[in-house]
């Protein structure tokens, strides 16, 4: 794992308990590692200072500007109406979900992370997947975003022959997650394969999901 990714994973609690303990003991024993970590936090802090200046400028303008965005208001009638409407909607959604075999969201699909567009701070170089991967697979992730899981799964299946290495492993992983919304048994089978694939960066995650 590259250092940038490793540090951010620690800061954003994406490490397992064991990995976290290893990180913290390395901080204590490896001076150079500790220096790198401090430097990372300082650089990110410096970039945040720039964001802060920019955001504060915008907030200052808001005090002078009339409200242009429709907001949640305190009108209690409207509130009760929306609660009633939500309940009605939930009842209808429950009926539909139980009577038609449409794909359903679950804890598996919640694990899916679409790649971030390369070339921005949100996709710092160390985390960037190859440009080709982002461009080629974007239609599938767009379908996932729209909850069109079956169509997305078809596209992911098509990508299996187009990638190798870690990109292929990502396609396999995301395919297993997408399939879970409409065919949980097949999804489990795919996850089982991933959990036995020592070369897959998703091996541990797959094991974790199967335990769930």
């Amino acid at each position: 794992m590259q250092l940038y990714n490793y540090f951010e994973s620690y800061l954003f609690n994406k490490l397992t308990v064991a990995e976290r303990q290893e990180f913290e003991s390395r901080l204590k024993s490896d001076i150079s590692f500790k220096e790198d970590f401090e430097a990372h936090k300082t650089m990110q802090g410096a970039l945040d200072v720039l964001v802060e200046v920019d955001v504060m400028k915008h907030i200052a303008t808001l005090d002078k500007k009339p409200n242009t965005i429709p907001m949640k208001n305190n009108n209690s009638n409207r509130r009760w109406f929306s609660i009633a409407a939500s309940l009605l909607f939930l009842a209808a959604a429950f009926f539909v979900a139980n009577n038609y075999l449409e794909p359903k969201e679950n804890s598996f699909i919640a694990e899916l992370r679409a790649p971030i567009e390369p070339g921005t701070r949100s996709s710092d170089e160390a985390l960037v997947v190859e440009n080709d991967y982002y461009t080629i697979t974007k239609p599938a992730y767009d379908l996932v975003e729209k909850k069109k899981y079956k169509e997305a799964a078809k596209l992911f299946e098509g990508y299996l022959s187009q990638f190798t290495g870690n990109e292929l492993k990502k396609v396999e992983w995301d395919l297993a997650l997408v399939i879970s919304t409409f065919d949980i048994e097949r999804s489990r089978a795919l996850l089982f394969n991933i959990s036995n694939d020592k070369d897959s960066p998703f091996m541990k995650k797959a094991k974790g999901l199967l335990v769930k």
Partner: protein
């Protein structure tokens, strides 16, 4: 997964205008503000504190959104409220208006507090470092920090290509590292 809240993070990352809309939406969210106000009033604060902490929580949330691994798995308002709570308890502890340890809130999504807190001294030294950079570098890094794409940076700075913008960004990052005396 709450799509609406996931969308907020994506909207912040999308572009400046979309980010500013998110800021405005949060800033004008009376429900969020009154929840924070109630907590701060209950814990010895006043209106000035409410405004500071409310702004701080929005600011912190926006900065988090720009970090690649940040994901919002829960309600955005709950997340902002937990930032506000955390910061208020930290400040009051610092001022020795102590709040007992058991009231220390857990952060939503368990994000390491180190990502949220930058003490005043450190922040002021970082601001100085930024001023030591030349204006062009500051502009490039500001755009980069705000998630602008390289092609947009190139366009705004009149660089010939995306590659040129990328090169400039690396140069500026190195300058900043030197100023901050990092290896």
């Amino acid at each position: 997964m709450n799509t609406e809240d996931k969308d907020i993070v994506n909207a912040v990352r999308k572009d400046i205008s979309s980010r500013n809309s998110v800021i405005e939406m949060l800033y004008r969210d009376e429900q969020l503000k009154s929840t924070i106000r109630a907590f701060i009033f209950k814990n010895g604060g006043d209106d000035n504190n409410v405004n500071d902490i409310f702004t701080y929580s929005i600011l912190t949330f926006i900065k988090q959104c720009y970090r690649p691994l940040f994901t919002l798995n829960k309600d955005a308002n709950a997340y902002l409220f937990s930032i506000a709570k955390y910061e208020w308890i930290r400040l009051t502890k610092k001022q020795r208006q102590l709040v007992s340890d058991h009231e220390r809130p857990e952060l939503v999504d368990d994000i390491n507090a180190e990502t949220l807190i930058l003490d005043k001294e450190k922040k002021s030294s970082l601001k100085k470092a930024m001023h030591a950079l030349d204006k062009k570098c500051r502009d490039v890094l500001t755009m980069w920090s705000n998630n602008l794409r390289m092609r947009e940076i190139a366009l705004k700075m009149n660089y010939k290509s995306e590659g040129m913008a990328r090169k400039k960004k690396h140069e500026c990052m190195n300058k900043l590292r030197t100023i901050l005396q990092l290896k």
